[in-house]
């Protein structure tokens, strides 16, 4: 790769947050091997620069490029970076129901490579916590996990990467900070471009530049003896991080069953309590609506994984990588099928597999639309204080038309 090529470019970037411009016509161009420390006072826009560099914030003007390719511009064009980058957000980005190793493997799998993480966990005194849930860690340990997830992609593969680290040392003890400074030296020497926001003066030692008043001030990194303390070599094959996280979180928390399932079972219970099974004629339009209503109610709850990501403020971490956001569609599909079959049995009907299949698809598709509402409002300052469920009646008309179609087609 041409070392003179800019790995990270922010051109004429203006970002508005709330009612003020946090960044205005901001320019930054970082080449391979450059490490920039952002250490201005609170409210100066350090996190905004990191998040804008990750393509997380809509731009009023300008564009963001990774490795010369457009990632985001002010007209809304957005592309997945060709080369995955390392990201530590101020909000950790970890889900409490994930294990320590799972979050770090997610970060590595997004780069399509894996390395042995054991030495790194030992280095930061996390090896004994490897299989623990992140929710069980202390604040500092949790921060170490987030920091490793943002830093380790820089040790993967032969090509340099962009590493965006927002307050990676927040809550870290002095020995851990010293190790982090050593690792940042090593990452820079591998050719990675590092953008690091921190108030800790320790990090000035490994920076090639410091950003002051939107101007890059060049400096020489402190002398250090580069220790090749660990061999970084690929290990197991990477796996699909989004799919694995979707499956793991649903299996571990039973979120879809607990949230969507309860809504479906309650609907089924109410139907069984209020409707006389003998009065239901399967040739009537009401019958298919009746059999599908619990599956529909389950879908209206939305995707529980999104609620979990919101709760742990981890949604931005997944959005930034643009490789998908964990989902519950498969679990929703199985749940919808099960509920439809149970409802048919509850009304003394023989099970129609076709209707059960439609029930599964109904739950998954309803869940997908409600999930879209949730994601579309995720940028708001108070995403939980928005009344997206008011919009769910939009789904009743398609449901009514589906029921009508099933009846007209004599599918039952």
């Amino acid at each position: 790769m041409d070392m003179s090529e800019a790995l990270l470019t922010l051109s004429n970037v203006t970002v508005r947050r709330g009612s003020s411009d946090v960044l205005k016509n901001f320019n930054l161009s970082l080449k391979s091997g450059q490490s920039v420390l952002l250490n201005e006072k609170n409210g100066a826009g350090k996190s905004t620069i990191i998040e804008a560099s990750a393509g997380l914030l809509p731009l009023e003007t300008g564009e963001v490029r990774h490795h010369g390719a457009l990632v985001l511009d002010s007209s809304g064009r957005s592309k997945r970076p060709e080369m995955a980058f390392g990201l530590t957000l101020q909000s950790d980005g970890c889900i409490g129901s994930q294990r320590v190793e799972e979050h770090i493997f997610n970060a590595l799998d997004l780069t399509s490579n894996r390395i042995d993480i054991e030495p790194w966990l030992k280095r930061y005194n996390l090896a004994h916590r490897k299989h623990d849930l992140i929710a069980h860690l202390s604040g500092g340990q949790r921060r170490k996990v987030a920091m490793l997830a943002g830093m380790l992609p820089g040790f993967v593969g032969d090509k340099p990467r962009i590493l965006l680290l927002d307050e990676p040392a927040s809550g870290l003890d002095q020995p851990s900070r010293e190790r982090l400074v050593e690792d940042l030296h090593a990452l820079r020497e591998r050719g990675n471009t590092i953008l690091l926001a921190s108030h800790h003066s320790d990090f000035a030692a490994c920076a090639t530049h410091i950003l002051e008043d939107n101007e890059l001030i060049a400096k020489n990194p402190d002398e250090h003896t580069s220790k090749k303390w660990v061999d970084v070599k690929p290990t197991a094959k990477p796996r699909n991080a989004v799919f694995r996280t979707s499956m793991t979180l649903n299996r571990r928390t039973l979120a879809t069953l607990a949230n969507n399932g309860i809504a479906g079972f309650l609907t089924l219970g109410i139907l069984l309590a209020l409707v006389d099974p003998k009065a239901v004629d399967s040739t009537l339009v009401q019958a298919s609506g009746l059999y599908l209503s619990s599956a529909f109610a389950a879908g209206l709850v939305g995707d529980s994984i999104i609620a979990m990501l919101h709760e742990h403020r981890a949604l931005d971490w997944w959005k930034a990588h643009r490789k998908g956001i964990p989902y519950s569609y498969l679990h929703g599909f199985v749940l919808g099928m099960g509920l439809t079959m149970l409802t048919q049995l509850g009304f003394d009907e023989s099970v129609s597999w076709l209707l059960a299949l439609i029930g599964g698809l109904l739950t998954a598709s309803t869940m997908a639309i409600v999930r879209w509402f949730d994601l579309a409002t995720s940028r708001l300052a108070r995403p939980k204080a928005v009344y997206t469920r008011i919009l769910t009646p939009i789904l009743v008309l398609p449901f009514a038309l589906l029921v009508q179609w099933i009846t007209d087609s004599n599918l039952l």
Partner: protein, 232 residues
Amino acid sequence: MSKRAAELVLLVGFIGIGITLVLAFLKAPSVSINAFESPDAQRIFYWHVPAAWAAFIAFGFLFVGSALWFFKRSDFGWRMHVAGAEAGLATGLMTVWSGMVWGSAEWGVAWDWSDVRLNTFGLLTFLALFLVLGRQAQPDGVETRDTFSTFGLFGFVLVPVTYVATRLWQIRHPGPVLGGGDGGSLNNEMAAVLFFGAISFTTFMIGHVLMSMRITLLEQRLESIQEAMDKV
């Protein structure tokens, strides 16, 4: 424009709506008892249709305001978005409520989930409710404005769908009474009362929009004063 212009327009609209009601009950001719299940309830038509007409214009304001904010970053556009949502909610609820009363009398049910026009119009009203409640729950800022403008832009798709719904899927709702292609089904007296109602509801809606835009402008001024005081 005078500071009291909005109140004046709103008052004229209110009076016009009152007169429309009087004309609907006392002046408009009765309809054939063979054509309707509940002929007396047909007089709700003089409230229902003008309210729906005004609601469509309000949703037009919402759309234009959303587009002005989203593409031009216009504060005026955002005020128009807010005003369009609030006026759309007010006139939309007038339409839905009157339609449900009329539906109960004429069809025997207040709501039919399979009637496309009924549902798409109901959704427009829900969209306006979502926008009004949602905005009140969020601090004003670019994130709030972008998000709700996006919903305003997408939601407007429902307006043409609602308009053509009875042409494509005539389930419960009758076809268009004006501009339907067969010369319509209104005599002159009916059309006059309907026209007066449309003017009145439109005036009311415009007064509502003007007043709402003024309130939002005052909110914006107050916020900028507070921000200036924060920096002192």
